[in-house]
């Protein structure tokens, strides 16, 4: 174990996979500088031929990676901010997601797209997006949302080794948090949720950046005598419904926390999946803790009110348990 930042854990995963497999190449905007820390130091080790700075052409290089993957490379593409998903959307949702299917399985697309998403950095409306719920709607894309440093590393290594297009969304606020991260070979399988804390009164499913907040909320609520089980789905597509349902069958209450707009999002999908599979286990209606259906404002107090906080999560859980 080494005590490193979340961003460093990501950079380590990239470096290890590039050492392990010559076909892994990294390309994207400002990846040589590594402006968000996740690709820092890679060009020094692997050289400019494997760490390619691209022009600001998200659709172009997202599509280039599709062709590169189809022709034998294992590209990792850094699209910087979450909302740049939209600039590349045709290449992600219409191309990467479908080329295998519409050729009847003739094509294999091992490509990973990296994004830093979420709010809390005073980035205002166009730099605080969380599109993971939108893309989990697209068949053919895997969607990964790491919530801890060890998972960031293990899930990224597994994403790169996966033979499918993976969209990997990191919460901005997690980048500088510090974690004990396993050194060397450490992978976390895609599509497997993890119970991050066991409890008996209520299940909190926390997505991505909400994981540390949910764990802190669980700690605080324990002092009030409320036992919270925290489940981290880690991967939204495929979604490990079984682990969530097993937890809800035990606790009989469900709260889903997701720093994203509420409509047709990850929280909505998780609630729907649980209700379909285990409505009989629920003693009260499930609750979602998300952003309101509004863009993220710049003003600090407005943004703080918009993003799902530990306090709101605690309050929601306490209300549900004391009903």
């Amino acid at each position: 174990m080494a005590r490193v930042t979340f961003a460093k854990a990501v950079a380590e995963a990239l470096a290890e996979e590039m050492r392990r497999d010559e076909t892994v190449v990294l390309l994207g905007e400002d990846v040589r500088t590594g402006i968000l820390g996740t690709t820092k130091g890679l060009v020094e080790e692997f050289g400019p031929a494997r760490v390619l700075d691209t022009p600001i052409s998200e659709a172009g290089f997202a599509g280039l990676a599709v062709g590169a993957a189809a022709a034998g490379l294992r590209p990792v593409v850094d699209l910087m901010y979450g909302q740049f998903t939209y600039l590349a959307m045709d290449q992600l949702a219409n191309q990467a997601a479908k080329l295998r299917y519409m050729t009847g399985g003739q094509i294999r697309l091992p490509v990973t797209y990296l994004f830093v998403s979420g709010g809390g950095h005073r980035g205002a409306a166009q730099h605080s997006e969380s599109p993971h719920g939108m893309v989990m709607n697209v068949p053919g894309l895997k969607v990964v949302v790491p919530g801890t440093g060890p998972d960031a590393k293990g899930l990224l290594k597994a994403s790169i080794r996966d033979d499918n297009p993976v969209l990997y969304y990191m919460d901005f606020q997690l980048l500088r948090t510090r974690w004990d991260v396993p050194e060397g070979e450490w992978t976390v399988p895609l599509g497997r949720a993890e119970v991050k804390r066991e409890g008996t009164d209520v299940t909190v499913v926390a997505v991505g950046g909400m994981v540390p907040k949910a764990l802190a909320a669980a700690e605080a609520l324990a002092e009030q005598g409320i036992s919270v089980e925290v489940v981290d789905p880690r991967c939204l597509a495929p979604l490990d419904v079984d682990t969530v349902v097993a937890s809800v069958r035990k606790t009989r209450r469900l709260v889903v926390a997701d720093d994203a707009p509420p409509r047709a999002g990850a929280a909505a999908e998780i609630v729907a999946a649980v209700v379909e599979a285990a409505h009989d286990a629920l003693v009260c209606p499930p609750r979602r803790v998300t952003r309101p259906p509004a863009p993220v404002p710049f003003n600090a107090s407005l943004e703080d009110a918009a993003l799902p906080s530990q306090e709101v999560l605690e309050r929601t859980v306490a209300e549900l348990v004391r009903r």
Partner: protein
């Protein structure tokens, strides 16, 4: 007609090869039109009758290991690189024996084993894939070329120029082939496109030439030049192939009452039918005898009939295919 060498060969192919592949596209697609009218083939069907010289001329310059990205009007690309017409026809019928197990249909039929990296229903959608494939070839140390086929409608898609910029910037072995058939669905080229395609391409640093897309040997010659350039590290190029589709944008459009070009224009373009031109050239130069041409026609007709028989007798895909191949 550009002169082929004394033996009537070009890119190592003889005139019979060019005639065979162009006729294969022509007869295959005319049969598809007939089957569409009869209701045996359904869905969205875009034919390239009249445009055969472009894919066949380009294919003459390709080698084992080269790749191609195709379009919604892509039967010609697939047949030109040597795909099996029977498995293609089965795909158009939506049958399990089709190249894509019936899940792609006319718009997405692709034989990946022959280097077709997908046929795209989104205009310009596949162009960056060719650039990425070229990057892969260079990284993997292969002397191959990637060809991106697209119509002139794609010239107004941003992603095409994003891809062109990347190809030029990184000097990748890509040949951009514009099949300028004059209409984007029903919109004439000049109604939609400002400036000149060659000027645009040269602005990105591509080697760009105008090509008579109704002359298969002219296409072959320029494609050979472009491919040679790409293979020898000369970077990407752009062929603006002036051509014409004799049929509509989509089968069945007459029934929908689409009127966007006059019959006179179609008749004029038919005068430069690429197949008739090649036959005339062969006859005039003695490099392709009329009796040879007739034999090729007969042979291709039989191949197409066999393809239809194969498709008709092939099974429907099982329902389990619905969710297969979503992920590897």
């Amino acid at each position: 007609m550009r002169a082929a060498d004394g033996e009537g060969r070009m890119g190592g192919k003889d005139l019979e090869w060019f005639l065979y592949r162009m006729l294969l596209i022509r007869y295959f697609e005319e049969k598809v039109a007939e089957l569409y009218r009869a209701g045996e083939i359904y869905g969205h069907v875009h034919l390239s009758v009249g445009q055969e010289a472009v894919p066949v001329g380009v294919a003459a310059a390709l080698r084992e290991g080269d790749v191609v990205t195709s379009t919604h009007r892509g039967h010609g690309h697939c047949l030109a690189v040597g795909a099996d017409p029977a498995r293609m026809m089965a795909e158009l019928f939506g049958r399990a024996t089709g190249y894509c197990k019936g899940k792609g249909g006319s718009m997405h039929v692709a034989d990946v084993s022959r280097g077709i990296l997908g046929a795209n229903g989104v205009v310009a959608g596949g162009v960056p894939h060719a650039v990425g494939a070229a990057l892969a070839m260079r990284k993997l140390g292969r002397p191959s070329v990637a060809v991106a086929f697209f119509g002139e409608g794609a010239l107004n898609q941003g992603v095409l120029w994003e891809a062109a910029n990347l190809a030029a910037l990184w000097e990748l072995p890509v040949v951009f082939v514009c099949e300028n058939n004059q209409y984007a669905i029903t919109t004439p080229f000049r109604t939609a496109t400002a400036g000149d395609p060659l000027t645009r391409a040269r602005g990105f640093g591509l080697w760009a030439v105008e090509v008579d897309g109704m002359d298969v040997l002219a296409v072959a010659q320029q494609a050979e030049e472009a491919a040679h350039r790409a293979r020898s590290g000369g970077g990407p190029s752009f062929l603006n192939c002036r051509t014409y589709r004799f049929r509509g944008h989509t089968e069945g459009e007459e029934a929908l009452g689409w009127r966007y070009r006059d019959e006179e224009e179609v008749r004029e373009w038919r005068q430069s039918d690429p197949i008739l031109r090649l036959e005339r050239y062969g006859r005039d130069t003695g490099k392709l005898l009329p009796q040879t041409a007739e034999r090729v026609r007969e042979e291709v007709r039989r191949v197409v009939e066999r393809a239809v028989d194969f498709a008709r007798s092939s099974p429907e895909p099982p329902l389990s295919e619905l969710t297969a191949d979503v992920w590897a």
